[in-house]
């Protein structure tokens, strides 16, 4: 009979959770403030990069290819509006506004992400 839980299991789960916590703390420490920028990539190449400022007016970016997608942006947010892909997971990511938010459409190989300006380490002490 297989056992349900062992000491090795506890160690494994602890390692996975600690690694996740470490990465989260680390990325929170490197968090950005100030203005957010949107980056739209296709096949790993940046095709649009713009400031997500508060006075940005609504716009749509048509991205062609085998599987065409449409990315929309307005003040402070960017998101997949439409996609010809089979599952539409990319649209379900919803609006991205915080630094680090990322949505991808894997079939179309398009990703949309929000980035902040890197906080200078010196600014913390100042």
């Amino acid at each position: 009979m297989k056992k349900l839980f062992s000491r090795a299991d506890a160690v494994l789960i602890a390692v996975i959770l600690l690694a996740a916590a470490a990465v989260l703390v680390f990325s929170a420490a490197g968090a950005t403030d100030g203005e957010a920028f949107a980056r739209i990539e296709k096949d790993g190449e940046t095709i649009h990069y713009f400031r997500l400022s508060e006075d940005l007016s609504y716009r749509e970016y048509e991205i062609g290819g085998d599987i065409p997608v449409t990315v929309a942006a307005e003040k402070g947010a960017v998101w997949f509006l439409r996609s010809e892909c089979p599952d539409h997971l990319c649209v379900r990511f919803g609006k991205l506004s915080k630094s680090g938010d990322t949505a991808v459409c894997l079939p179309a190989r398009v990703s949309v992400s929000v980035e902040g300006e890197k906080k200078a380490v010196d600014a913390v002490t100042g």
Binding site: K2, S6, D9, I13, A20, D87, G100, T102, P107
Partner: protein
């Protein structure tokens, strides 16, 4: 632990059983697709219920029958959800099946540990695919997927533990 002892067992029976379990895996992955998306997780993150089937087969019948089910699941994803889904399913399914089989062989891990490791391998393989297909920024989800693996893997282990006595009962008939 084999499904049946070697004297009684015959080829046809094993194949029939494998067919039933393959069908079960496909039904579970289809039903799972009907569930609402998990909060805090990227869309597409799932409970991995059909992994319970590959996990059981990996422990009872060995590596190759389990890999066969993973491949069938991948092809099913390809037919129903498209090429990219197939690549993701194959990568995640085969890596996690192989890892679960190896951990069962060590005899050090329980069902929960194997389930978590399998879920983790599945997520890691899919995140790696997303990384190569699109962009680095997907890696933001890595820590959340770790947390997700711990939760869904534990669920898989508990469910398999609950179902095992029932499967054993069927085996004896």
């Amino acid at each position: 632990m084999r499904l049946q002892d070697k004297n009684r067992g015959n080829h046809a029976r094993r194949i029939a059983e494998l067919g039933i379990f393959a069908a079960l895996a496909l039904v579970l992955s289809f039903l799972e697709g009907l569930l609402p998306p998990l909060p805090m997780m990227p869309p597409g993150a799932k409970l991995g219920l059909s992994n319970i089937v590959t996990m059981f087969i990996a422990s009872s019948q060995g590596l190759f029958p389990a890999l066969l089910i993973a491949v069938l699941k991948g092809l099913f994803a390809g037919v129903t959800r498209g090429f990219t889904a197939m690549i993701l399913s194959l990568a995640g399914g085969m890596l996690s099946t192989a890892l679960m089989y190896l951990l069962f062989r060590t005899n050090k891990f329980g069902l929960i540990g194997v389930g978590v490791a399998g879920a983790f391998a599945h997520n890691a393989a899919q995140l790696a695919c997303a990384y190569f297909l699109t962009s680095r920024t997907m890696l933001w989800y890595a820590p959340w997927l770790c947390v997700l693996s711990a939760a869904t893997g534990t669920l898989s282990g508990l469910l398999l533990c609950a179902v095992l006595p029932l499967i054993r009962k069927l085996e004896r008939k």
